[in-house]
Amino acid sequence: MKYVDEFRQHTLAKQLAAAIRQAADEERQYHLMEFCGGHTHAIFRYGVQDLMPDNVKFVHGPGCPVCVLPIGRIDEAIHLVEVHDVILCTYGDLLRVPASGRKSLIKVKAAGGDVRMVYSTQDALKIARENPDREVVFFAIGFETTTPPSAVALQQAKAEGLKNFSLFCNHVLTPAAIQNILESPEVRELGSVSIHGFFGPSHVSSIIGSRPYEFFAEEFQRPVVIAGFEPLDVMQSALMLIRQLNEGRFEVENEYTRVVSREGNQKAQSLVADTFELRRSFEWRGLGLVPYSALKIKKAYEELDAENRFTIPVSQAKDVKGCECPAILRGAKRPTDCKLFGTVCTPENPMGSCMVSSEGACAAYWSYGRFRQPAQQSA
């Protein structure tokens, strides 16, 4: 595989770091939110913050699909397994997310529930074909990047007449969430959180293009740079954001030109449009109910909608007391501000979702960045 090391070169990183130091105005602060957990992970894994001047800070956003999924949705998935006795197919990250009553999918599996870890929607379809006498549900989760494979699965299942397959849809939308963060009281009125610019998630934009961000860059006067996930991408994008801020521009720029275009992948978009439609509102952990921020399965495919096929009681589960995941997801707090961080909440025993996925801010802090706060750790 080519182009792995090319975007991680030390010498280029040094040059970029020097350019950023030169561009950053010492008199001002640059708080740049990386919306996506993929960026959070890269920043920590490669130690990118170490190469930044003190006044350029990364604010970690809510772009980790596992992190923003409310506890209630996991409860509902558990209900499908325990009550409806389905084979639940899910991506690995989701297994360890804590649900109500100290349950999680991995514990349900250990207790005999048929929960299977898959790597793609195709694996789930295969399981459905091989188990015609069992109901097979795919736990669909993720931002715009993972929606097209779900769309394909729906079309395939329909074409094949696969009667025992359905999809539990939890697909969410990025632009609506970013807009919600910018409209939150912390950012708008209280001014307690300052976010000066955004790194746009590049894999999402490989599908939706860069255009959907143009509205709020303009409306909220915040520059957006669509950034690739390699550490050099992140640094180059930081430099582009700093330059925009210095020049008073609020534009959508594209650093990830090797993949992303303004219009995105139109074939994928039409696939998604064929199978999914907007949900009026969807609950996000940390953001609450966000209007038009998620997708549901269209009527034409309703027989493949798990929410339609099974009666699932709506769970009103609350987060664990003291867990700061919601504020962390909005960028209003840092993981180390949470009392549970590193005390009762660790990757081995996560209390909140941000500690589960490697894309979660808490897990990234814990795994890669703890040494920056040794005093708090020993306390």
């Binding site: 130690g47 990757p347 795994s367």
Partner: protein, 349 residues
């Protein structure tokens, strides 16, 4: 009457037959399985005595003993199989004390319905690995469980060995200033396993590094009897093993990512699967912690051995009350290299 009565008139069918419950019942079928399959591949004097135990003389000195259960899936993978792995894994655990392994035992849990042809292949591979290592399997056990209660075959091996005089290798002996050596490229075993998983098949040229390291260790302790720690970074990979040692010795470590040997194919596969090679398993590598002087002496000796050809000094032991393993990244930043949490992949050994 003829004096020669064949014990088993019909030979064991290792082509088409399968394991059934009689193979574990202690009766004639089990005796035949032992004689025509296990004894055939493991043949040695102690085993041939046919006792329930192996009796042998012991030399003076310190003995070590280690046990390892093997439940890997799939059973056959590029570069090895559960049989060779079961021999190498235990030999390495014994050798990481600086000991010379002497004898092995092997316990088999077979699942009803398991093809005897596969069992034959696995035991042959075990026999080969043991004879190459010069360490015989001198006692064993076979049990059969009902279909659905096992996964083909599980193998548990125990090894014993003797530590040469004056060698004091232990995980709690790392001291600030010590150098950390790794004996070659990391992550090969884990990636080879993944590439042959049913639901994850991808093409790679990577083979498991599964190998017995005791002869390399022999040369190392001869060159530098003062080695502080040796450990093989199996499950949890390099990162987890270094954290174990840091915790045990009460020290911290500073690594240089640029010095950690890694094959390009492993890096690529890990990139594709979202894994970190530092946490991917190895079955033929060791970590050595020793004084800087010993490191200078050891490196050429290790590099001259095929199993240590790519040996590198990857870091230094430092004082750190938090026992963190930190790494200067290729990129120029630094990060903590933490314990593995959860599991990257189940059943890799």
């Amino acid at each position: 009457m003829s004096a020669v009565v064949k014990r088993f008139p019909l030979r064991l069918d290792t082509k088409g037959a399968r394991v059934d419950m009689t193979h574990g019942s202690g009766g004639r079928a089990m005796a035949q399985l032992i004689e025509e399959l296990f004894l055939k591949h493991f043949d040695n004097e102690l085993l041939r005595q046919g006792n329930d135990q192996a009796a042998f003389d012991v030399s003076a000195g310190r003995m070590v003993m280690s046990v390892d259960g093997h439940v890997i899936s799939p059973l056959f993978f590029p570069g090895g199989d559960i049989g060779s792995l079961a021999v190498h894994g235990t030999l390495n655990d014994v050798a990481m004390s600086g000991a010379r392994p002497l004898y092995l035992s092997a316990g088999f849990i077979l699942e009803e319905g398991f093809p005897l042809a596969d069992l034959d292949r696995i035991v042959a591979s075990m026999g080969r690995a043991a004879s190459e290592a010069g360490v015989p399997v001198v006692t064993g056990d076979t049990k059969v469980v009902e279909k659905g209660k096992g996964d083909g075959v599980f193998i548990t091996t125990t090894g014993i060995g003797v530590v040469p005089e004056g060698i004091e290798i232990s995980g709690d002996r790392a001291r600030p200033g010590d150098k950390i050596i790794v004996s070659g490229s990391i992550g090969d075993h884990g990636v080879a396993i993944m590439s042959s998983r049913e639901n994850l098949e991808f093409e790679t040229t990577i083979e498991s590094d599964s190998a017995a390291l005791h002869k390399l260790v022999d040369k190392m302790v001869e060159t530098a009897p003062g080695i502080h720690c040796l450990r093989d970074p199996t499950r949890g990979g390099l990162a987890t093993t270094l954290n174990e040692l840091a915790m045990q010795s009460g020290i911290g470590m500073r690594l240089l990512e640029s010095e950690i040997p890694m094959k390009a194919a492993v890096t690529s596969a890990c990139e594709l699967l979202g894994l970190d090679p530092l946490y991917v398993a190895n079955e033929g590598k060791l970590i050595c912690i020793c004084s800087p002087e010993d490191a200078e002496r050891l490196l050429p000796i290790m590099q001259a051995d095929p199993l240590g050809r790519d040996s590198q000094i990857i870091g230094t032991v430092v004082e750190d009350e938090h026992h963190f393993v930190q790494m200067e990244t290729l990129f120029g930043g630094s990060r903590v290299v933490d314990w593995l949490s959860g599991e990257q992949l189940p059943r890799i050994c």
